[in-house]
Structures are given as structure tokens and as C-alpha cells.
Symmetry: C3
Subunit: 337 residues, 3 copies
């Protein structure tokens, strides 16, 4: 595709060589003369000047003398749009691999691809254009929407429901039993884990992440929420829309999380916590059971506090040796008037 | 099943409509007129008054005027007993799926179910009534007891031994090599990881949890212990009976854990630690290598301390800005007599 | 194998019974009269005196009267060398299991073993003597070197490259998409995750660990590095050679780690951190985004500090109640002269 054509697709004007051929995308520092890169921020723009990239997406108002560029309002966003244009999804082999085991009562829509050794159980449903990877397990009555991608070895327990355009990476488990027992007679009796799990549209779930079904109610992951690798989401958790959950975070039972929340990695949230929309939880933050994190606030630390408060406390903690020294001086009788 | 029949099964008396038909279980807030719920504690009992549940399990001595109830000594426990009665385990398809690969020298007891694409290697043994899910791998000489459930994609390494009624969720790994090396000549040489792993009766293991075999000795999970998702249990760890280990907890090599211990989520335990029976480790607690947590104590924090001590320290930490201010005042010469 | 023969293999002299037959290895406390054990350190040597082991590796200069021993410079290292001699790798069934699905354009070298239900996609390459376990998935264009072991249910995404003698435990995922989005129009747009992942020679990767491919660049795990179970390694991370990463550690995007680094369990590292060679990160340490850990330093805590500094601060923290008491006393007017 030429620079001209790409500019037309993105509905922007190009600078310099419109006929140049662009074949792929790359980072600024590795891009070659037939590759597209982007530059956002001062440091990137100075590196752009010496990049070998054939075409660079730059912020509006920026020119790089002698370089072929497209000036756009949001270079990183334009970059991923261009990436989709330049790298059309490879033609997927449709159809069911002969080694897959698909129950006669399962329902597969048009243009579904089912990989080798996948298992699709009774009454499971798969929407149009969805790709079921090798060795995926789809339990009885499970539903997967259209245009989803389930990478190899994903396990979807019976009855789980996934929306459209859901992406699930290898080894993830959706719909396993929650962790609930009743203690009596010296042993733990398993509490029924018979609820639902619903994953809404446009959710992405990372590799080896686990999401339990509800015990009696429902575990819900809202539209557009993105979950990284090795995350644990317990039974009856309800997560809002467009929330970000980084790797190895653990969310205990019955937690409610709002929309547009951001959680760093290794966050831990006790049961029955409520996290308001647009709250930010710094990496490793720990929220005690039953607590409330107010909408829009940023918290950090274990136990988590408002960021300002945490920082102030932490600064005092760092100054503690000096403080102790001062108190020692003050309490020496000889130094007192 | 009618209220009358259920009451007879639980050996208790019913109040109000004995002929009412009950078909399933549900939470108090979602239950319909043909469903059973339970109410324990004041808040639940007040919600019970407005629940649509057809039948409610309540504590002895409680009556809900006009509502059909069963008064029992432990409503939550009775609820799960009733759940088992109301939801008999669905008739499992017995037999070996034609796509499963079962070695000629493997030994399968009666009424075993082996799912599609499962692999059972030489001399592996599976007890009566056990369900081996799709894509499960059972290595050479591995033993699984009777009435176990192995969900899809579980991997049991060669030689591992599981007792009876063990439940293992999707993606869990039992018997992998421990993490042990000897450093010499500028590189890490793998120490032999050839020990055993024994999972006793009635253990449940969560999704994508990993349990390493012993290096030379044995990794042991005691009877009735319940382990959540994404937990790591290293080589030579010995865990007692009826212990609870919540999600994402990590237990390092050669740790010994007693009976009836409770660990919150994301606990970390250094190697060679000893945790006494009935100890409680709060969520996120970290125990330093070689330490001892005494039986019956509750610890919290990183590094873990007795709960009282931790709380006192933490209160002082919160008061640190005020303390620093006070010291500042004290050290101002003008303020001193 | 006799004691004599083993001594010859290790090029050392034996004490006492050269003709004794040794059939296996064991820990000092469990070894029988036909087994080899090792004793290093005073405590082990005193236990060695009462061990039933048929042969004991001891440090040079040590004699155990009446016991058959081999005196070596590094008993633990000699033990693992002897273990390799005594337990030759069991003859592996070569060839491709009939249920494996190997693409016609995949390339398998000599003496490769491919287990049941493994899937090897188009143009994937497998080196000589490599064992591909049951249910392993090897994506298009993926490369695995020679003498590797991939345990069951490992997933290698398309295009990933593994060196020689790489060991990967069950359920691990290599080459999944990194966690990167661009926020615009109220939702998260997926940033291209099209980079590479390279695992060099002699790396070992634990069960259910996840390693993401680069977004545009490369995720690199250097030669001889050992990674435990349930570790998360994000996109564009570069890890040096012979580094040790214990279980449940998480490394965020674009982190650079040097050679011979040691990380304890549950370490968390923010994005763009640089960890110098031979640094040590204590268990549970957390390094803030963008920070630098200098070569050879030991850090601990969250946020991580130099070990000395952390210990001093922590001692002061423990003494905080006493300090507060002292300040209280100082500020009582009656107590002042």
C-alpha cells in the first residue's frame, strides 16, 4: 500500500513521498524504509528524525523536514488503525478440524473455525466468524458470541456465556467453581457453585487467567474490560465496563468494580469490596475486605490509602531514623536547658 | 420434591405449606416460588421476609409469619445438604471416549468416565466412578482414587498419587519439577526433581494451580485441604488436613503447614517455614524463610507479625505525621522553658 | 553400578566398599543401602553418620569411619552429576503419535518425539531429540531447538523461537499478546502485539507461567535463565543470562534485567525498570516503574530499597510504639525541668 492510499484511508494529508510503498508496521528504532512507525512526545520526535522508517505518524502541527509523514490528532491511535489496514487478519481456515469433537446438538454459526482436538459439548453455541483454537474445551450449554478468538487450551465450563469479539488467551479458565465451603463436623463442606458467568462484548482475557462462576448468583465482566495474564476473579464478582486489570491481580468474592477503573499488577482485593468508577489502584495495592474505594480516587499501598496520604506517610517512614535521632537528642538531660 | 419430602430428608419439621413443590436452589434475593434459599444472620432474616423464595431454611427458633420455612441448627449447612438432594449429580456418561488415548497397561476401575482427547499413560490407575475430563493428561504410574473429578486440561505428571473424592479444576498441574539448581561454573545445574507428590482424600485444587513434586522427598497435601486458583506449592511442602489456601498464595520449598490452617489470598511463605495448626494468615501476609508461626495465632503483614502487634504498629504508622509534628514543636528552642 | 564405577565416572577416590551396588539417589534421611546421598554442611554430616545410605558424597577432607563415601569438592554438584549417571534418561519413544496433528509443511528433525494430541502448525520447526508432550500446541512458524522438553499442554504461539535444551513445564504459555491498549472514544483499542519472543538455550520455564511476545519489538529470555511456576513476563521484557526468577513474580512491560540476577517469589517489577546484573531482589519486593536497581545490590520491600536501608527503616518501624511513648513523656509539661 502506498503512503497516498494509507493517507486516504486515515482521511489525512501526507507530507513528501506519496508513492512510497509501505508494507508493515514497526517501532521507530527498528522500522525500515517500507515500514510505518509513529512518534508521540518530544523524545520520540527527536528519535524520529534519525529513524529509517519509510513513513511516520506525527502529531498535527509537527513537520519533519525531508521525512515522509502523516500528521494526525492522535498518532498512536492512528498507528493501530493503520496497522489493521496494513495487516488484514489472515484468511482463517473455516470449518471444523476432523479431530475436533463437536456434539451433534452443539450449534455452530457460519464461518466458524474449530481447531484440532477442540471439544464442543452438548447444546454449546458458537457465533459467526468465531475462531476456536486447538484443544479448546467448551462445556455444555456454553455460549460464545460472534467474531471471538479463543486461543489454544482455553477451558470454558458448562453454561458460561461470552459476548461478541471476546478474545481469550491460551490456558485461561472461565466458569470454574468458586472457593466456598461451610465448616462443620471438623471438615469443609463444599457450598454449591452453580451460578453463572457472563463475559460481555469486547472483553480480552489474558493467558492462564481464572474466572470463577457465581456460587448462586453471577460473575460478570462488563463490556470492553481488559484483563491481563494470571489474574484471579472469584465468584460473584461484578466488574464494570472498560476497566483495566493488570497481571496477577486477585479479586475476591462478591467484589463490585465500576467502569473505567484501572488496576496495576498484583493488586489484591478482599471480599465484598466496592471500587467506584474511574478509581485507580496502583500496582500491588491491597484493599481490605468490605472497604469502599470512592469513584475517581487513586489508592496505593497495603492496606491501600489515598495516594497523597500514602505518600505523606511513606515520606515520614523514610524520615523515621532521623526522627528517632532527634527524639534521642531531646531526651538527653545534658542537652536540655 | 415437596417441602414435606425435603423436611423428611433433613429430619426437621416444616412450617406452612408442606405440599409446595421445590425444584432448585437460589440466593435469597433471586429465589422464585419453587426454589429453596437460606437465611442466616439478622440482615439475611430481614431480607427473607421480602424474598420470593418458596422455601427458606432459617435458624431454629425463628419463624417468618406466612412463609414456608424449615428451622434447622445450621441453615447454610442444611442448604448445601438440600442442594445435593435437589440436584443429584447428573448421570455421567461412563466409558472411554474414542478419541482418548489410554495405554494398554493403564488400569481403569468400574464406572470410570474418560473424556475426549484425554491421555492416560502406562501403568496409570484410575479408581471407580472417577471422571477424567477432556484433554486431561495422566502420566505413567500416576494414581487417581475413586469418585474424583478432574476437569478439562488438568496435567498429572508421572508417578503422582491422588486419593479419593479429589476435585481438580481446569489447567491445574500436579507433580511438575521443583525449582532447584546448583550454581557452579557460571551456570545453574538442575538438581534432581525425582520425588513424589501425594494428594490425600477430599482435597480440592483450583484452576491453573501448580503443585511441584518433591525433589528427593515428597510433596504432601493432607486430607480435606482446599486450595484455590493460581496457587503455587513448591517441592517438599507438607500441608496438613482441612487447611484452606486462598487464591494466588505461594508456598516455598520444604514449608510445613499444620491442620485447619487458613491462608488468605496472595499470601507468600518463604522456604522452610513452619505454620502451626489452626494458625490464620491474613490476605497478603508474607512469612520470612525459616520462621515459625505458632499454632492458633493470627498473623498479618509483610513481614508477618501477630495481628495485635501489626495493628498497633500500623496505628502508630498512621499517626506518624502527627508524631513528627510534635517532635518538631518540642525541638523549637523558643517553645522550651 | 558399583561404588568403584561411580568413583571412576566422577574421577574421585572412594572410601570403604568399592564393590557395593548403587541403584539410585535419595535424601540422606531416606536413603537405603543401595542408594546414593550427599552431605554438605555440619548438620548434614552429623546426620550422615546415622544415615542408612549405601554411599555418601562428602566434602574433601571429611571421613566417616566405617561408611562408604566419595570425597569431592562440591558434594551437591557431584550428587546431581551422579544422579544423571545413575538415572539415564529413559528411552524415549521416538516418532509422532498417530493422534498428533502435524502440518505437512512443519519440519521435524531426527529422533523427535511428539505425544498424543499435540498440534504442530505450518512451517513450525522442531530440532533433533526434542520431546513434544501430549497436547502441546506449536503455532505457525514457531521454532523449537534440539534436545528440548515441552511437557503436556504447553502452548507456543505462532512465531516464537526457542533455543536448545529448553525445558517448559505443563500449561506454560509462550508468545501470547502483550497487554497494551490505546484509550480513545471511551474505550480501549488494542495496540498491535506483533513482535517476537525468543527463549535462548538452557532456559527452564515453570508450570502455567506466561511470557508475552513483544508488541513491536522482542521479548527475550537469555541463556541459562530459570523461571519458576506462575511467573508473568510482559511484552518487550529483556532478561539476561543465568538469572533466577522464583514463583509468582511479575515483570511488567519493557523491563530490562541483567545477568545472574536472583528474584525471590512474588516480586513485582513496574514497567521500564532496569535491574543490573547480579542484583538480588528479596521475596515480595516491588520495584516502582522506571526505577533502576544497580548491579550487585540487594533490595527488599515495597517499594524496594537497599537491604540495609530497609532493615534500618523496619527496625525503627518496630520501635515506633516506644518512640511515640517517649515523645509523649517529653511533651508532658510536668516532666520537664
Amino acid at each position: 500500500m502506498t503512503v497516498e492510499e494509507l493517507a486516504r484511508h486515515l482521511a489525512v494529508a501526507f507530507q513528501e513521498e506519496g508513492k512510497r510503498e509501505i508494507r508493515g508496521i514497526a517501532a521507530l528504532e527498528n522500522a525500515g524504509p517500507d515500514e510505518l512507525a509513529y512518534a508521540e512526545g518530544e523524545r520520540a520526535l527527536s528519535r524520529a528524525a534519525v529513524s529509517l522508517a519509510g513513513l511516520i505518524l506525527v502529531p498535527r502541527g509537527v513537520t519533519l523536514p525531508g521525512r515522509t509523514t502523516l500528521a494526525v490528532s492522535h498518532p498512536k491511535l492512528a498507528f493501530l488503525q493503520a496497522a489493521e489496514i496494513l495487516r488484514p487478519p489472515e484468511p482463517q481456515e473455516e470449518g471444523v478440524h476432523p479431530t475436533a469433537v463437536v456434539h451433534a446438538e452443539a450449534v455452530l454459526a457460519a464461518a466458524v473455525s474449530v481447531g484440532p482436538h477442540a471439544v464442543i459439548e452438548r447444546r454449546a453455541r458458537v457465533g459467526a466468524g468465531t475462531r476456536i483454537g486447538a484443544g479448546v474445551f467448551l462445556g455444555e450449554d456454553a455460549e460464545v458470541g460472534s467474531a471471538c478468538v479463543l486461543y489454544p487450551r482455553v477451558t470454558i465450563y458448562a453454561g458460561a456465556r461470552l459476548g461478541n469479539r471476546v478474545i481469550i488467551h491460551a490456558g485461561a479458565v472461565v466458569g470454574s467453581d468458586g472457593f466456598g465451603y461451610v465448616f462443620a463436623d471438623g471438615r469443609h463442606h463444599k457450598f454449591p457453585q452453580v451460578g453463572k458467568v457472563v463475559i460481555e462484548d469486547d472483553v480480552e482475557i489474558g493467558g492462564n487467567t481464572t474466572i470463577d462462576r457465581g456460587s448462586l448468583g453471577t460473575t460478570l465482566i462488563g463490556e470492553g474490560t481488559k484483563i491481563d495474564n494470571l489474574v484471579q476473579i472469584a465468584h460473584n464478582v461484578r466488574i464494570g465496563r472498560h476497566t483495566i486489570i493488570a497481571a496477577q491481580t486477585g479479586i475476591s468474592g462478591s467484589v463490585e468494580v465500576g467502569d473505567y477503573v484501572v488496576m496495576g499488577g498484583q493488586v489484591g482485593i478482599g471480599d465484598h469490596v466496592r471500587i467506584g468508577s474511574r478509581a485507580i489502584l496502583g500496582g500491588g495495592a491491597g484493599v481490605l475486605p468490605g472497604k469502599i474505594v470512592r469513584p475517581g480516587t487513586t489508592v496505593w499501598g497495603r492496606p491501600a490509602r489515598r495516594l497523597n496520604e500514602f505518600k505523606r506517610m511513606y515520606a515520614h517512614l523514610s524520615a523515621l531514623p532521623a526522627l528517632a535521632e532527634k527524639v534521642k537528642t531531646l531526651s538527653q538531660p545534658s542537652r536540655r536547658p
